[in-house]
């Protein structure tokens, strides 16, 4: 459990990504604009493909250089966070399809699930997608090989460096 190699993960970039997802999704709901949901899904999809937080570009190019957000680099596994983003992408894509297909209750429910999970991650430090990833890893599902950093509850933000 502790012998695995962890990587440096900037949790501020993840948090910025979550905050943008929350903001755009809420705005989409208030204004009744499914196109905004599709936009967030697209950004998350691109982020998942590039293995980076979808809105991470805003953090890297604006928020971090201007000091509006400070880096919070921890030893962690990036894979569960990528998986989490893919799950969010799938939910929002399904939500967008539902909204454009005239199924607003299903579409907005899926959108609000993403908002709730992103909020839990951003404000509570608990990543449900990561917890699911680690749970699948425990079940030895192929492609899910990482274990939580030592001393960290699966899905929780690591409290410390595990390889110091």
């Amino acid at each position: 459990m502790t012998s695995q190699t962890l990587q440096k993960v900037d949790h501020s970039a993840l948090k910025a990504n979550q905050l943008f997802i929350i903001a755009f999704s809420i705005l989409a709901f208030i204004l009744g604009q499914p196109i905004l949901v599709a936009f967030v899904a697209l950004v998350m999809g691109i982020g998942a493909a590039l293995r980076t937080p979808g809105f991470g570009i805003v953090y890297k190019s604006i928020l971090k250089p201007r000091g509006w957000m400070k880096p919070d680099v921890l030893d962690d596994n990036p894979e569960p966070h990528r998986f989490s983003q893919i799950v969010g992408f799938v939910f929002l894509t399904a939500g967008s399809v539902a909204l454009f297909s005239g199924l607003p209750i299903l579409g907005w429910t899926l959108t609000w699930i993403v908002i709730a999970l992103a909020s839990l991650n951003a404000f509570g430090g608990f990543c449900v997608g990561c917890a699911v990833y680690y749970w699948l890893a425990r079940l030895n599902v192929p492609g899910f090989g990482k274990q939580p950093p030592a001393g960290t509850f699966p899905g929780m933000k690591p409290k410390a460096s595990a390889n110091v």
Binding site: F29, M156, K159
Partner: protein, 135 residues
């Protein structure tokens, strides 16, 4: 159109309100845990307010904001305040008992050792001072 937006805005505020209520409930639960575990930290009643501060060596906000804030507060209050710093990596048992989910986390205990406030994340001097004044 406008009434539709207002309805959605109302729904959004309601959902956010529910989220805040859930967060408040979690904090209350943390305070109960702190209340139950606080006596083990002290051999006798502290007879002054105590801040129990959970941190880790590589927590950047702890180094850049939380610790300076606590140092400033200690300087301002002198002997009237005790700050107990706990490294969650050295004492994971305590972090678990107190229900600490992230760092920095600060618990404020009154002079009778009763947990009154919990701050998940960075708490600035002004906020801590405000909380201390109501203990």
């Amino acid at each position: 159109m406008n009434s539709d937006i207002l309805l959605r805005l109302g729904l959004t505020l309601g959902i956010i309100g529910l989220g805040i209520f859930a967060y408040w409930c979690i904090n209350q639960r943390l305070l109960v845990k702190a209340q139950n575990n606080a006596p083990s930290l002290f051999s006798s009643l502290p007879n002054k307010p105590v801040i129990v501060y959970f941190t880790t060596p590589d927590c950047i906000p702890c180094k850049t904001v939380q610790r300076p804030a606590l140092s400033k507060l200690s300087g301002l209050m002198g002997d009237k305040l005790e700050v107990v710093e706990i490294d969650a990596t050295e004492r994971p048992d305590l972090a678990k008992q107190w229900g600490v989910m992230s760092v920095p986390t600060t618990f404020l205990l009154n002079a009778r050792g009763e947990a009154r406030y919990v701050n998940n994340g960075v708490a600035r001097v002004e906020k801590l001072m405000e909380q201390l004044q109501t203990l």
